[in-house]
């Protein structure tokens, strides 16, 4: 905390209601077992368009989108309330691609025309927008950009390949980073229907949908630049801060659910004639996870609050939230499997999905060690 007064870390009445409603809806309609069905049926979409549209009707997709673009005009904090609940059942719907990467890039760097063209569609559930930054050998470092944007008469020509682009298999628009001469890199909005774009579906461990986006001299106009020419790095850092906090809210929900399932199991499962939850060796480890969850919740709420109210605090609190949520989720997921014993490593049981998502989220938008280095820099050491 930089000042003497801590930010408000409580949900107001409306947010508590939103959290309850989202919890019930997702619990009833989007159980984690869907991930198995979607995977085994090689579902073309990889998530439920129907659910996504229903959530749009409930107003959840446009919570943070300003009213002038057909959203509800609420804050990022409110969005995080829904994200946390979506994380509980590891929903594969395009929250990260569209509501975090796409929407935040547009809100932070988009022109009024770009926002008008895309945000209403995002709020209504029709439009999927994503962002591609991962490349061969970049190892999660978004500043390693080999994709190039060559100046042309109409604007630019993009060449290169982006990997693991979330929901890139069906996005209406894909934002990509590409180097623009020696002035750093720039973000461009591309229409995958353009000539020179090849999309190849990818399958990951965590049930999120992804694609390789191959660009061969793809023509884009000057109007398709997002933010400043050469301003990609600054913009992307701010986008990743927000996306990392949103992802942390999902990780918090996922950790809570994995932990709750594990506590249930500890109470039910009997060995040696007693519930295994009566063993102190397991009790103390369960308390350690509980403790980490309490700390993580505080960090996530503070970071989400800062995005709405205290922009100067965002970099450090976003790094705090991402680092701590990543470690907590991984710990909760590992302990969940261990405490479930043999059934925990079978594909038949749902608990195994959590460690797969934990691994993916750990590696996304900066590993904890990268955020600790950044935290150290921000604190002057």
């Amino acid at each position: 905390m930089s000042g003497h007064t801590a930010p408000s870390l409580l949900l107001n009445d409306e947010q508590q209601m939103l959290s309850k409603t989202a919890h019930q809806f997702i619990h009833d309609r989007a159980p984690v077992a869907r991930l198995r069905t979607l995977r085994d049926s090689k579902d073309e979409t990889g998530f439920s368009r129907e659910l996504w549209n229903e959530m749009a009707e409930l107003g959840w997709l446009g919570l943070q989108i300003p009213e002038q673009y057909d959203g509800m005009g609420l804050g990022f904090f409110d969005l995080c309330v829904v994200l946390e609940q979506s994380g509980r059942e590891l929903m594969p719907e395009p929250f990260v691609s569209t509501l975090l990467l796409g929407t935040q890039t547009l809100l932070l760097g988009g022109t009024d025309a770009q926002k008008k063209a895309l945000l209403p569609g995002i709020a209504s559930g029709e439009t999927i927008v994503t962002l591609g930054y991962e490349e061969a050998g970049s190892h999660g470092d978004a500043s390693m950009v080999a994709t190039t944007a060559r100046k042309s008469t109409a604007g630019f020509e993009l060449s290169g390949a982006k990997l693991q682009v979330l929901d890139g298999h069906l996005a209406e628009r894909i934002i990509v980073s590409a180097t623009t001469s020696d002035s750093g890199y720039t973000l461009f909005l591309i229409d995958p229907a353009r000539s020179g774009v090849t999309i190849t579906r990818q399958f990951r461990i965590d049930g999120l949908n992804a694609a390789i986006v191959q660009l061969d001299a793809v023509p884009v106009e000057r109007d398709d630049v997002i933010g400043e020419i050469g301003g990609g790095a600054v913009l992307l850092e701010a986008v990743f801060d927000r996306a990392g906090v949103g992802l942390s809210a999902q990780m918090l929900g996922a950790s809570e659910q994995a932990f709750a399932d594990t506590i249930e199991y500890l109470k039910e499962r009997e060995q040696f004639g007693v519930p295994i939850g009566s063993f102190q060796a397991l009790q103390h480890r369960a308390v350690s996870v509980y403790t980490e969850l309490a700390l993580t919740r505080s960090a996530v709420l503070a970071a989400a609050r800062a995005i709405d109210d205290a922009p100067d605090d965002v970099p450090r609190l976003a790094s705090l939230a991402k680092a701590i949520a990543s470690e907590t989720f991984m710990h909760a997921a590992k302990e969940a499997i261990q405490m479930h014993g043999g059934i925990g490593v079978t594909d038949e049981h749902d608990i195994g999905f959590y460690i797969k998502r934990a691994q993916a989220t750990y590696m996304t938008f900066g590993k904890p060690s990268q955020h600790r280095q950044r935290w150290a820099e921000l604190h002057g050491y």
Partner: protein, 401 residues
Amino acid sequence: MSDLEEFREDARAWVRENAPDSLRGTSGSGPFEGYWGGSKCEETDPDLLRWRDLGIEKGWTAPSWPKEYGGGGLSHEHEEIIHAEMKAIGVPRPVAGQGLAMFGPVLLEYGNDAQRAAHLPAIARGEMRWCQGYSEPNAGSDLASLQLKAERDRDEFVLNGQKVWTSHANLSDWICCLARTDPNAPKKQMGISVILADLNTPGITVKRIDLISGYSPFCETFFDDVRVPVGNLVGKENEGWTIAKAILDHERSSIGRSIARQPGSAQREVVGRTRKHLGVAEGVIPDPLLRDEIAALGMLEEAFHLTLARIQQSAASGTPGPEGSITKIVGTDLKQMRFELGMKVAGVDGLGWEGPGFDEDDLQYTRDWLRSRASTIEGGSSEIQKNIVSKRVLGLPEGKK
């Protein structure tokens, strides 16, 4: 502006106007820092004594106690605000110690009018210092197996046995004891009573315990046919375990909070020691592994403070969550991490016990590091805390210990 906000402005103005300059920035303003008082107190710092007197006059040594008992007659929210304003400029509370933090509240809740009138004003004025008499040589984590015998003899109790870890009994005036009044009770938690004893009573012997740090904050206290009036029984005879649990809960949350210090101070302390011992005056510390460790400490510290704030906010909103139970576990872990890292960066500079060739600050730090090892043991070990969270919060079934 709400009443509380208005009160905060008044409290801020009063604290900033009256707190002596020499005390500012010296304290985390926890319940156990500053002037402990008592009849054996030899404090001579005029600023500390003046601050004490100003606090007494204002009723702000015990803001939430009734005025008739030397308090301020305010609510707990008001008290939180006063303490937060003292913390904001780093001045200690005008009077500190276990009497204010633990035994006063116990007497307010469980004592009778005579006991309150006899003890509370003296505690609020810092005139009488109190210590706890819970643990015994054979009753540590398993506190309910305590054996200090209290036998009724007409209008007196006769105490025989021994207490250990009695905090600063050598400097205290009164001790609050857990004693066994019914040795034949069917369960060990039954048959325990809370009895107060004046430490000047004949038959009480106090012996200091030297710790690995060289400090002696605790004592052994022996009871040999010690006679105290039955009026010193708090609550009902044989029903003291409920009170004991309330005292311990209170102690644990106080320890968690008092460990909190200023946000960011643990990280600053370790960074400062790193710069001093590694000779890096400013800028990036050129060891990425060390930076990672310090950042992990700084992040835990920040998350802990945010969690304390969240607990406080939800308590103030009338819906306290179960998170309060973890403050001692996390706070003491954080404290030990901080000292371990502070010692690690000092290397051999931190190996001095006393005498020449060592920096005074380093000698002190090393003693404090050793003292910090007790933090996860005293007031209920972390293991006992985890048993409690497991049972009360997670609802896991009780097993063999």
